[in-house]
């Protein structure tokens, strides 16, 4: 099959067909069913698209795995700065001492408590409220992914308890609420864990 002209005898163009494949937009959709030239043009574009997918699969295989040395080298060269967040004041017996902890360290604490629960993986953690003022009410929000096969409700209840205990032990925050949102249930094959 050859394509000598960009404009078909029916007046439509390969550019229109190219746009149609990407967006579904075409001035006269029923025409595409009946016009042999347009159908053949679409077939060609679809074959090209399939070849493009094949090329991409090939390129991706050639790029190697994210576990290979090249990625290890790149990751080793990255210097990822800490994210301290807000500064949370801590009580001190001596007024001359100014003690504080970072919001980032509290978020990391929440994350590690959630992660330590079997079958749970923490996502985004937010501390809502003015943590820079002692005694201000602070609500903790945690996104949570739960691996398939682990019961959701008992997990959430025991996590809320664990978090309350850990936050009381390691911070002076006035925790007003602990909200856990299960955003994902992961159907992970056991052998991959």
């Amino acid at each position: 099959m050859s394509m000598p002209h960009d404009v078909f005898e029916c007046g439509h163009t390969l550019e229109e067909l190219s746009l149609y494949l990407d967006t579904g937009e075409f001035p006269d959709p029923p025409h595409l069913e009946s016009c042999p030239e347009c159908r053949s043009g679409l077939d060609s574009l679809r074959r090209l698209s399939a070849a493009g997918e094949e090329l991409f699969a090939n390129d991706l295989a050639a790029a190697g795995s994210g576990r290979d040395d090249w990625m290890k080298d790149i990751l080793a060269n990255l210097t990822l700065e800490l994210r301290p967040g807000r500064s949370i004041p801590l009580h001190s017996d001596d007024p001359a001492d100014t003690l504080s902890e970072t919001e980032g360290s509290v978020i990391a604490l929440v994350r590690s408590v959630a992660d330590s629960l079997p079958g749970a993986v923490a996502g985004k953690v937010r501390l809502e409220g003015d943590v820079t003022v002692p005694g201000e009410p602070v609500a903790v929000h945690v996104d949570l992914a739960v691996l398939f096969g682990h019961p959701l409700m008992p997990r959430a209840a025991s996590l809320r308890q664990d978090l309350a205990t850990a936050l009381a032990r390691h911070t002076e925050l006035n925790i007003s609420a602990i909200d856990i949102t299960v955003t994902d249930v992961i159907d992970a094959p056991r052998e991959e864990l």
């Binding site: 099959m1 050859s2 394509m3 960009d6 163009t13 390969l14 550019e15 190219s18 746009l19 990407d22 060609s44 574009l45 074959r47 090209l48 698209s49 070849a51 493009g52 997918e53 094949e54 090329l55 991409f56 090939n58 390129d59 991706l60 295989a61 050639a62 790029a63 190697g64 795995s65 994210g66 576990r67 090249w70 990625m71 790149i74 990751l75 060269n77 990255l78 990822l80 700065e81 800490l82 994210r83 980032g104 978020i107 990391a108 994350r111 992660d115 993986v121 923490a122 996502g123 985004k124 953690v125 996104d143 992914a145 691996l147 955003t183 994902d184 992961i186 992970a188 991959e192 864990l193």
Partner: protein, 188 residues
């Protein structure tokens, strides 16, 4: 825990990484690094430049992750950054080349990424002819095609990356496809 990170959805990893969890960020990098690398190789035509691009994008991503409004869209975001960085690199390279004189003005981006260790991967004849046809395309058309077909970017996103209008993207992409279809059909 590290293994569990590899099975959780993107939004969980992006949320943790935005909170400062480096392990989650590295898991994202491992997950999409190969796609970023493949995209950067096609765009820059250079293995070394592609790895530089991936590294620069990861640095930028770590700094800007907390500005990502939709954490589930982190893959598309990383690929957009990869596209922009690759195009920036090509522009820098061109400026550098024009400063050093016309005899050095070798368009390095015309180098086919098909030449190199990649050929070790057994490629079908269709892929080989597509690669050849791609490397013969005008540069602007080739960029549009790669950003669309390899990165999966929309016309509007490609327009922003290349600093041209969406209508120009539509035209260049169509012309690229028309040429590629012809080359492929000739080969058939």
């Amino acid at each position: 825990m590290r293994d569990q990170l590899d099975v959780v959805p993107d939004a969980i990893l992006a949320g943790r990484a935005a909170d400062g969890d480096t392990a989650a960020f590295e898991s994202l990098a491992r997950r999409y690094g190969p796609h970023m690398r493949a995209s950067a190789r096609r765009l820059t035509g250079s293995y070394a430049d592609a790895d530089d691009v991936v590294q620069e994008v990861l640095v930028q991503a770590w700094q800007q992750l907390d500005t990502l409004r939709e954490p589930a869209a982190v893959k598309a975001w990383l690929l957009r950054l990869t596209g922009s960085r690759s195009i920036d690199l090509l522009r820098r390279r061109r400026n550098h080349a024009s400063l050093t004189g016309p005899e050095d003005d070798q368009p390095a981006d015309a180098v086919s990424p098909g030449a190199g260790p990649e050929t070790a991967v057994v490629a079908g004849a269709g892929i080989t002819s597509l690669k050849a046809a791609l490397s013969a395309l005008p540069e602007e058309q080739r960029r549009c095609w790669v950003l669309k077909e390899i990165n999966g970017q929309s016309y509007d996103e490609i327009a922003r990356t290349l600093n041209i209008s969406p209508a120009s993207v539509r035209g260049r992409l169509a012309r690229a496809r028309i040429t590629l279809v012809r080359e492929m059909e000739d080969w058939r």
